[in-house]
Symmetry: C2
Subunit: 225 residues, 2 copies
């Protein structure tokens, strides 16, 4: 395993979308090599070109999902819930020994302000079960506004809860979150991802009720480290 703080190559599957694109932009800006993954390699390359133009660099490249995952040290899954399982299955061979950061939020349209987790709890636990112990699945970033991520000068007033059964993998993702200006916390085992997955619907409910664009959460009672 690479050490916390060293630069990594990070594949962002779904990186041509808003949330994945925002994370990819921020990591590329922080100096990481980022490989945008998409089902369509050309679409991935176009998104990478946009990121490179924004940061004035060449850290981003694009590839089909499987190739992107194969090239990277760390793989981020930022696809819609409906595509979560199929995407993971399609790249499973490239994940052995790596960290997979799952950003998926199990929203069930049209009632996206109502928590509707899949039977048995968090969606990410099913992914860990599918992949087995050879992949370190980490849950994170579900509650961060894509809009804020894509504006590099904005301070993001929302903490990231990071959950994983491998505590060292969680700590590594906490460090990756802090590198892009986010508050982040190791929030325990992967089962605890119920909170971050469900919280997105609560924040949508708060946004609607209180007529704000981006509610979030901060953890209190711990001095940021």
């Amino acid at each position: 395993m690479s050490e916390v703080g060293t630069l990594k190559s990070i594949a962002v599957l779904g990186g041509a979308g808003k949330e994945g694109g925002g994370l990819a932009l921020r990591w590329a800006h922080a100096g990481h090599k980022v490989i945008i993954g998409s089902r369509d390699a050309q679409r991935a390359q176009d998104a990478a070109n946009e990121i490179n133009a924004k940061i004035g660099g060449t850290n981003a490249s694009g590839a089909a999902n499987g190739d992107a995952a194969a090239q990277a040290d760390i793989v981020v899954l930022a696809v819609p819930f409906s595509a979560q399982r199929a995407t993971v299955e399609s790249v499973a061979d490239a994940l052995a020994g790596k960290i997979l950061i799952d950003v998926t939020v199990p929203l069930v349209p049209p009632k996206v302000s109502r928590v509707q987790l899949p039977d048995g709890g968090s969606a990410v636990e099913a992914i860990q079960k599918l992949l087995g112990e050879g992949v370190k699945v980490v849950s994170a970033f579900q509650n961060i506004s894509a809009h804020h991520l894509t504006h590099l000068d904005e301070t993001i007033d929302c903490d990231v809860l990071v959950c994983a059964d491998d505590a060292a993998a969680a700590d590594e993702v906490v460090a990756l979150a802090k590198e892009i200006g986010l508050g982040a916390w190791n929030a325990g085992v992967l089962a605890n991802s119920v909170v971050s997955e469900a919280l997105t619907s609560v924040l949508i409910a708060l946004n609607r009720r209180y007529k704000v664009p981006d509610s979030g959460i901060r953890i209190t009672g711990i001095t940021p480290q």
Copy 2:
């Protein structure tokens, strides 16, 4: 229904325990008539006497759970998860037309830092189903430290998420929370209680990992009202 902001009589079932006792103390101190409920009427009366001594008043009284619920405008359920359903069944007849505030956290010892919600989601939804539409079940207060509640001079750095299918009932509980110095938000439908019920285990995990006594959450992005 009484208006938000008018003084209510509030029964706190499990009010001889720490969390319920802390809420009862704060509401009695704020001027509400509080009826401590317990399976043991004498134990309830003893707890009420302690509250009256602390506040220098007579707002608190004690009774067996059923009598306490019958006397009150609003009923609070603050019992251990293992006693939740039986307690509700024992007082169901006294709840018709009232608000029932469920504070229950579905912790499953010994792994209390692991989210282990009951099958199908939040525990409070099963209580609403049991009672039917004639009772306005509201979920709240799961994440507030009992220790802080019992120290009247302490500012509590944790917000309350209030969930209910009856939005007016949720707003009434938001007001009751604010009266005792808490930040509180109407967080949507009762199904969204998944977040507050699961969050307690996450906060326990954070307390252990970061060696702090009382982590909490604050909602960001909305100006407190």
